[in-house]
């Protein structure tokens, strides 16, 4: 086992994909000569050439749509969108074309495309570069939405996404890129659509994914020291959502805490809460709780930004409330 960073893991996955299949190519803004906005594709243009590492103009709708068309034409494109915020310029192509063409054509048109996007807060990039919009995409039938939160998923999810014959979006949290962890060779990981229990426990389930996973695990460890047994469920895939694993965990622990770096209102955490309420209400020993981001466009100033997003202490505090009393002491709606 050796330590690798998430960046290296993402890059290794791309290299493997390019080596494995001549139909694979990487396309996006500054993926080539610049080396990738977050340096994930650094050097790949020298290794694979400009035919397979394609720098595009600033035309999110144009090149994402071109990725969809290329997939329809028999290629396996990996399209990189610099930041999830910019993908909003390509929403038309992703939602109106990628997600619909197969169904609307009664299965005649295949869009085996992967779109990678950086997302998440923590680098003081302010509101137009820091948001978490995975929930927007998870809302849309026809898409698959992955969010690796472990080094093994960072390394191997792309392979599964490319093998999948549907349009798949992969989110990469910008604060993970520099984190490193041990990566076993030929890691045998769960199928991409399965949620995985990262830590087993019996007193409370923390349900989370992506950039918040390590925070949830750290909170669980702190709570462990205080004598509580916490389960951490890593969703990994937000559409299709592995509701079974969520319900199964809550049925065992009887308490559910959802941690989501996006806003609380009308978001992914609301969907998970509703799922639990619909399918496991009678198993609950406490109201479902959520630790989400504060509902403002994320500010630039470091302390304000950190105040916006879920923190380990906050997760611990809310979990303790749930573990020590069935009724929350405060019911603040942010």
């Amino acid at each position: 086992m050796s330590e690798v960073t998430f960046r290296e893991a993402f890059k290794a996955a791309i290299v493997e994909a390019l080596n494995d299949d001549p139909r694979v190519f990487l396309m996006g803004e500054d993926v080539g000569h610049y080396g990738g906005c977050y340096a994930v594709s650094k050097g790949l243009i020298d290794q694979f050439g400009t035919q397979r590492i394609i720098d595009t103009p600033l035309s999110e709708s144009g090149f994402v749509g071109a990725g969809i068309g290329a997939a329809m034409g028999g290629m396996l494109p990996i399209v990189e969108v610099m930041t999830v915020n910019f993908s909003l310029l390509a929403l038309d192509q992703i939602i109106n074309n990628a997600a619909t063409l197969r169904h609307m054509s009664a299965g005649q048109i295949a869009v085996p495309l992967v779109i990678r996007m950086a997302c998440g807060a923590g680098k003081q990039l302010a509101a137009q570069h820091s948001h978490s919009f995975e929930g927007f995409y998870a809302h849309v039938p026809g898409l698959k939405v992955l969010y690796p939160g472990t080094i093994a998923d960072a390394r191997y999810m792309l392979k599964m996404a490319l093998a999948d014959p549907n349009p798949v979006i992969i989110f990469e949290h910008v604060m993970l890129y520099n984190q490193s962890a041990e990566l076993a060779e030929n890691n045998d990981i769960a199928p991409m659509e399965k949620a995985v229990i990262r830590k087993t426990g019996s007193d409370l389930s923390i349900i989370t994914w992506g950039g918040c996973l390590y925070k949830a695990v750290a909170a669980a460890e702190q709570l462990q020291e205080q004598g509580f047994s916490i389960e951490v469920v890593d969703l990994r895939c937000l559409r299709p959502l592995d509701r079974e694993t969520i319900i199964d965990s809550v049925q065992r622990t009887h308490k559910a805490l959802i941690v989501d770096e996006s806003w609380k209102s009308v978001g992914m955490s609301a969907e998970i809460s509703a799922t639990i309420a619909e399918q496991a209400f009678w198993y609950l020993d406490a109201p479902i709780r959520r630790v989400c981001s504060i509902e403002v466009p994320f500010p630039y100033a470091g302390h304000l930004e950190q105040a916006c997003i879920p923190q380990i202490e906050q997760i611990v505090a809310v979990a303790l409330e749930m573990l020590t009393t069935a009724i929350p002491s405060e019911q603040v709606t942010l």
Partner: protein
């Protein structure tokens, strides 16, 4: 199909006339079927613009790709989709070319590489870029033909796509059907520069404007453009000047234009023009014309009857085709 040169013989001209008549009569039948509520939803008819679909398709080979708009019955018919499968689609039947999921605005046929039917104005342009990119990457000598209205020209995706197409020298034939109105918005109200072909030329690609009411002109221009594209000349752009005789959709009361304008354009229509020219030059007898019309009417009748009798997809199959199950090879 697929020859560079056009053969202006009698047989070919009759063929072109018949193709245009198939579209015209089909559309007229759709109007009655719509009022009978056999067809629902938005219905955009192609009356007046038949010369473009028919002319352009003469330049394309079987494995070239075609992308069109929500006004695509004519393109689909000219491309070779069976009238029955199109009609069944509009009736919402299982045997429709999109399994009843697409309707009038979303006709598809992967075997004919007919990739829609797209109800988002300019939505197909980036897809065309991608399909052509895939052809280029896989060294296939194919053309991707992308057809859209002049309304699409105001969208950002038009400019993004033309830029990419020229930048990457992609084998795309852009066909702009300039019928002078985007729904009810006249060209002058919409475009700073109404010479649309010049916008394409500004991206450095070969671009021209032609009379979209003359099927021969369209065929000739499309064939020349396709042969240049196949030789590696990159994208070509053809602006076809045309006019739609009916409203934008079945709900259009046409407050934005005068009846006299419509009537004047009807005199320049592609079918009257060709018919007139052929009869004037003793290339078409009344009997021949009637035979063509009878053929067309029979085909339509057959399509309507079959579509009417066809079964609907069971609701239990609603999730079918949302995701592909099997991994692709």
């Amino acid at each position: 199909m697929g020859n560079d040169k056009i053969h202006l013989n009698r047989q070919h001209l009759h063929y072109l006339l018949k193709q245009m008549l198939r579209i015209r009569r089909f559309e007229e039948r759709c109007v009655t079927l719509y009022s009978e509520e056999k067809i629902r939803g938005f219905l955009h008819l192609y009356n007046g613009e038949e010369a473009i679909a028919v002319g352009v398709m003469q330049a394309l080979n079987q494995d070239d790709a075609v992308l069109a708009t929500y006004r695509e019955h004519g393109h689909a018919l000219a491309r070779g989709l069976s009238m029955t499968s199109i009609m069944a689609e509009m009736f919402g039947k299982q045997s429709g070319c999109s399994g009843g999921r697409g309707g009038s605005m979303h006709l598809f046929d992967d075997k004919l590489r007919f990739f829609g039917g797209n109800a988002i104005v300019a939505g197909a342009l980036p897809l065309a870029v991608g399909l052509a990119l895939a052809d280029k990457m896989q060294q296939r000598q194919l053309v991707t033909c992308c057809i859209f209205g002049e309304g699409a020209v105001a969208e950002g995706e038009f400019h993004e796509s033309l830029n990419l197409a020229k930048l990457w020298q992609l084998p795309i034939l852009f066909i702009c059907e300039n019928n002078l109105y985007a729904m009810g918005t006249a060209l002058e109200i919409e475009e700073s520069n109404q010479k649309i072909h010049l916008k394409a030329a500004s991206y450095g690609m070969t671009s021209q404007v032609i009379n979209g009411m003359n099927v021969i002109d369209v065929e000739a221009a499309a064939k020349l453009a396709c042969s240049a594209i196949r030789q590696g000349d990159g994208p070509h752009f053809i602006e076809c000047r045309t006019y739609r005789f009916r409203g934008h959709s079945m709900f259009d009361t046409q407050l934005y234009r005068q009846n006299s304008e419509i009537e004047a354009w009807k005199l320049k229509g592609p079918i009257v023009q060709l018919t007139h020219w052929l009869t004037e030059n003793k290339q078409l007898t009344n009997t021949e014309l009637q035979a063509i019309e009878q053929d067309v009417d029979a085909e339509i009748e057959e399509a309507v009857q079959t579509a009417d009798k066809a079964s609907v997809e069971p609701v239990a199959d609603i999730f079918k085709h949302l995701y592909a199950e099997a991994p692709h090879e």
